[in-house]
């Protein structure tokens, strides 16, 4: 149940899988994304409402065949240059897009968690998106109203980051909870990285608790959400998001960065040590 992250990825994530690494600004499972890159997973269909830096890294390192998403940018900064390069120039390989709105993605996850074939919402009305994505119209059997239907998300693997688990593998996360509970419950298998293992989970208002029996693996990854944050542990590294822009603009600079901080490091501790080393060199 509680296993090293490298073992969890080796066992549960296979080439060609549909993988959702979720986190809505908060608790983004970056360490797990880095492990997918180290283990050279290929042909993944990556699902996420808000692909940001870690998806830029996965796409730029050639892990993804397809992206299912609703907003792909560097929040408050601008573009994801690796995502753009893949879509605009097919580098390092073409990337198929399945694009939704946030409301549609959220409904698709909720439907998956509820074991329903589709989610229903008032959305996708007008505009050019409906012709470009998987959406259909259903008629309400009671009122006759036409509503949008989106196919449920049922990822092979759901990956999230949480603050804590106990020794039995029960998980607790709090703060902005995004769509992580739905992601785990919609997925066939799931990996949860946590800041730490505690003897007992302390009840907290608004917390999301996932009992161990809905989770495939729990892995300790301290500061594993960086450059995102974990409420109660560390803040969002806003400077990193700003600094990512020039790193990701250039293919060679990006590859060198990934080599140094991800491929040449063994785990999340090594990743952070390499960032500190870079700061020391720069200073």
């Amino acid at each position: 149940m509680i296993v090293p992250l490298s073992d969890a990825v080796a066992e549960h994530v296979h080439d060609g899988d549909v993988v959702a690494l979720e986190g809505f600004t908060h608790l983004i499972p970056s360490a797990a994304g880095h492990e997918l890159i180290r283990q050279e997973r290929r042909d993944l269909t990556l699902v996420r409402m808000t692909p940001d830096v870690v998806y830029d890294q996965l796409i730029g390192m050639g892990c993804a065949r397809k992206l299912v998403f609703s907003w792909g940018g560097n929040p408050g900064v601008g573009s994801l240059h690796r995502l753009r390069d893949a879509v605009e120039n097919g580098w390092p390989q073409p990337l198929e897009l399945e694009e939704h709105s946030h409301a549609g993605m959220a409904a698709a996850y909720a439907a998956g968690a509820a074991n329903l074939p589709f989610g229903v919402l008032r959305g996708y009305r007008g505009g050019d998106l409906p012709a470009r994505t998987r959406v259909a119209t259903v008629v309400c059997p009671f009122t006759g109203e036409e509503l949008a239907a989106v196919p449920a998300h049922r990822p092979d693997v759901g990956v999230i980051h949480a603050q804590q688990a106990d020794r039995h593998g029960n998980v607790q996360l709090w703060g902005i909870a995004g769509v992580q509970k739905e992601t785990v419950l919609a997925s066939k298998r799931s990996i949860v990285t946590v800041e730490e293992i505690v003897d007992e989970l302390e009840p907290r208002p608004n917390a999301v608790v996932l009992p161990s029996w809905v989770v495939s693996a729990v892995c300790v990854a301290p500061r594993g959400a960086h450059p995102s944050y974990a409420a109660g542990y560390y803040d969002r590294d806003n400077e990193f998001y700003v600094a990512w822009d020039p790193v990701s603009r250039d293919r060679e600079t990006f590859l060198a960065w990934m080599q140094r901080h991800v491929l040449d490091t063994a785990d999340v501790d090594g990743y952070h040590a390499s960032l500190v080393a870079e700061e020391t060199t720069a200073a």
Binding site: F24, H102, Y109
Partner: protein, 239 residues
């Protein structure tokens, strides 16, 4: 940074101040990141302290001291009245019509207030792949009043959108760095210019034949209080 003659404020500051004035004290406002967030937080610090700010990350009633860089900064949750999941935000609160104003930005706008935040060029082979619609398609139709903030140029104010991401049905006002556009007879019409800007400048920065209202007004320049509050927000946000 826009040049603004010898006025003691920039064109972007004028835009943020004018947009903030559109928010009322009893509004519940869905806030996007960037300029909309700056304007909404300014409103809360000046004339509309009771205004409720809702961010799509699930924070309701956020009262940030620092301007957030993302829609999910910790401070938005720490200062919120309630934090809900993302499916709940879009289903119960937006679709449930509990939010009355939405502030949107975009890469392109047309004369009907339709917005593009998806691609420049064709969808299959875009010259620029933009981030995408995010919450915008449902926000645009799920609130009563949509306010748009966008710097005005022929690149942004276009005759035909490259892609229609969200519909302009509920767009009530577009605040630019040159002035104000409002729908009249089904078409965005220049109804005011900022001090120092002219209707000709606005026409030259619009990719369609821009209608100008007969009763074209001039917006009030930022007050000292507005500028002080705005700059305090920006300084804190960048520290």
């Amino acid at each position: 940074m826009s040049v603004n003659g010898d006025r003691p404020y920039t064109a972007d500051e004028m835009m943020a101040v004018e947009a903030s004035r559109r928010l009322a004290d009893d509004n519940v406002c869905f806030v996007g990141i960037g300029l909309p967030s700056l304007a909404a937080n300014l409103a809360r610090r000046t004339h509309a302290p009771g205004c409720t700010l809702v961010y799509e990350s699930g924070t309701i009633g956020s009262k940030p001291v620092r301007l957030p860089l993302s829609i999910g900064d910790g401070e938005l949750a720490d200062t919120a009245d309630a934090v809900v999941s993302v499916p709940e935000m879009f289903a119960y609160w937006l679709q449930g019509r509990r939010i009355d104003v939405g502030f949107l930005g975009a890469a392109q706008i047309d004369r009907h207030g339709n917005l593009n935040s998806t691609v420049i060029g064709s969808y299959d082979a875009p010259s620029v792949r933009l981030p995408g619609g995010g919450g915008a398609p449902e926000i645009a139709l799920g609130v009563d009043d949509v306010f748009v903030m966008l710097r005005q140029s022929k690149r942004t104010f276009v005759g035909e959108l490259d892609f229609t991401t969200s519909l302009g049905d509920n767009v009530r006002v577009v605040v630019t760095d040159l002035g104000i556009l409002e729908p009249r007879d089904g078409e965005l019409t220049l109804t005011a210019v900022h001090p120092g800007a002219t209707a000709d400048e606005a026409r030259a920065a619009t990719g369609w034949d821009l209608r100008v209202a007969d009763d074209l007004a001039e917006t009030e320049p930022p007050t000292e209080g507005e500028l002080t509050a705005l700059r305090a927000l920006e300084t804190k946000g960048r520290s």
